[in-house]
Amino acid sequence: MSEKIAIQVDDLTVAYNYKPVLWDIDLVVPEAVLMAIVGPNGAGKSTLIKSILGIIDPIAGSVSIYGKPYKKQRQLVAYVPQKGSVDWDFPTTALDVVMMGTYGTLGWIKRPGKKEKKASLEALEKVGMLSFKNRQISQLSGGQQQRVFLARALVQNASIYFMDEPFQGVDATTEIAIINILKELRKAGKTVVVVHHDLQTVPEYFDWVTFLNVKKIATGPVKDIFNDDNLTKTYGINYKVAVNK
């Protein structure tokens, strides 16, 4: 882990009408960490990612990526949305979906060419999906769909990866495959932020963690702050139930 700051969030506030979703979040994420965002349902985990990425407009607050405003640094950021957010019956193939990852660098109008196709095939190979490249996406299993999504993010060749519940509805093999790729990314100096549900696997998978429940409860290295105190603050006294679930 280097001392460089990858993501800095200041005073981020999101509310729907009077309903607070996120309040005054300050967050600093150093470069080359694998960070989990944990918290109970409705804690605003997805909202945090989405408002960092500008999908949701916050009421207040600013986000900077490597010291510059997010809008100027989009190219450095890749995003893996929740699997349920897209139409899986859309007429397109696995390779097509991965190629979408190159659209950002291409910009308006320009079409992906040989170079982009090659990169996409490599990404598919990395997630073990090369043999499914021409498969219609609805004919993939949940785990395979998630791998395709990961490949699409990989092809963006970003420095920071945001992933929204990548292990949801995914088989054990895929979960391990994904986490291995994420660990590889960290080794290569990339920063990975994951919305995560399964508290039990946090110490095994991640080295950095943020506790969130509308407000930020704590953020830091797993070995220092992943403890009963913070879990109780985040989940209430019954957090053990949440862990065992």
Partner: protein, 386 residues
């Protein structure tokens, strides 16, 4: 007012009421467009029924046509189940096809069918009084009035009998099946009543305007209340009002009665849409604007509460981090100063005692996330604004 005029208005009122009642449930169940589908697809049933009965007001014809409506619903649900196309596409494919069959049948048999294509779209309310019901040689009134009246009586009876079941199954499907009311029976029951009503109203107002009579009163009253009983009453009132005023506007312009009734429905809806006290457009936009200022103020105060360091409370820093434009930042700061929530010394902002108290209450709300705590806050906000 002449006799036929009174009769036309009477028919229009009965049709409006009969449509408004099932319409409320369709709107609440997010099935408004089913009325559109049914009203179009009954046409072939109506034409075929006419070949058999030779009488547009025959009960048999109404049952035959209503049956086509139910077939449409089943067909749409079946296509949805195949997963070949998305749900809305299924509706959009079925009814134009059936409607086309109906229009072509009419066009090809123009001499045998006393229906023309204009009547399909607009109905023939103006001619309704000419078709009289004769009971043992005595004229007892227009046939369509009796027919629609009968449908209305059935609808109201069913509504009174099954009000509780309809209410529960509309607002909570899970609970209703747990209590032993089959959602499927209620669903198809509602579909059947809607089909019969649409067929009955078809002659008076035509295929598309019956949709207006079903949806518009319900949607209008839904903007004014969420209480089912009040919604039903309001819908009926809106329907009756539009039916009568619509008739006179048509009379004045010498234009289609059905078209003018739906124009009146549209006007009533537009007025309520704009001016409804809490759910209307103006109220919503105004409230959202207020809320934005209030929530911004709260954010600002919480930020001050969160950060004791001076540099975090410097005005320039605030602008940079909170990321507000100058005007917005200034108005929020001004609001806070005006209410003695903050003091500014040397460009550094700090909370006053009042500000501290207020913030801790707000924090309490945010952490517990309980709605009752916000009520005080809302009152306080109101004071600030004033």
């Amino acid at each position: 007012m002449s006799n036929p005029q009174i009769e036309i208005q009477l028919i229009a009122v009965v049709v409006a009421v009969a449509c408004a009642i099932p319409g409320v449930f369709l709107v609440l169940r997010k099935m408004s467009l089913i009325s559109d589908a049914i009203s179009h697809s009954i046409l072939p049933g109506l034409v075929l029924g006419f070949f058999i009965t030779q009488d547009l007001n025959s009960p048999l014809l109404i049952i035959l046509a209503a049956f086509t409506g139910i077939i449409t619903v089943v067909l749409v649900e079946w296509i949805q189940k195949t997963g070949l196309v998305k749900e809305d596409t299924a509706i959009g494919l079925v009814f134009p096809a059936l409607f086309s069959v109906g229009v072509i049948l009419i066009a090809k048999n123009a001499n045998d069918v006393h229906l023309d294509v204009d009547a399909v779209l607009l109905g023939e309310l103006a001619f309704a009084p000419f078709d009289r019901l004769m009971v043992s040689g005595m004229d007892v009134g227009p046939k369509s009035l009796w027919m629609m009246g009968l449908i209305l009586v059935i609808t109201v009876t069913l509504l009174l009998l099954f009000f509780k079941e309809l209410k529960i199954s509309t607002f909570d499907v899970g609970l209703s099946s747990a209590l032993g009311f089959s959602p499927a029976i209620l669903h198809y029951g509602l579909m059947s009543i809607s089909s019969v009503t649409v067929v009955g109203a078809f002659e008076a107002v035509g295929a598309i305007l019956v949709v207006a009579l079903m949806i518009a009163p319900a949607a209008t009253s839904y903007l004014l209340t969420s209480n089912l009983k009040k919604m039903l009453v309001l819908s009926v009132l809106f329907g009756v009002f539009s039916a009568i005023t619509g008739y006179w506007v048509a009379h004045w312009l010498d234009a289609s009665i059905a078209g003018s009734i739906s124009t009146m429905l549209g006007l009533v809806f537009l007025i309520v849409y704009l001016f409804a006290p809490s759910k209307g457009l103006i109220a919503v936009v105004y409230r959202q604007k207020q809320q934005q200022i209030e929530v911004s103020l709260l954010t600002f105060l919480l930020h001050l509460n969160n950060h004791t360091e001076e540099n975090e409370r410097h005005l320039n820093h605030l602008r940079e981090h909170i990321n507000w434009q100058k005007i917005k930042a200034k108005s929020v700061v001004d609001l806070a100063v005006r209410n003695n929530l903050i003091v500014i010394n040397n460009q550094v902002v700090s909370l006053t005692e009042k500000g501290n108290d207020f913030t801790s209450i707000a924090l309490d709300y945010i952490i517990t996330n309980k709605d009752e705590k916000i009520e005080h806050l809302k009152d306080d906000f109101f004071l600030f604004r004033g």
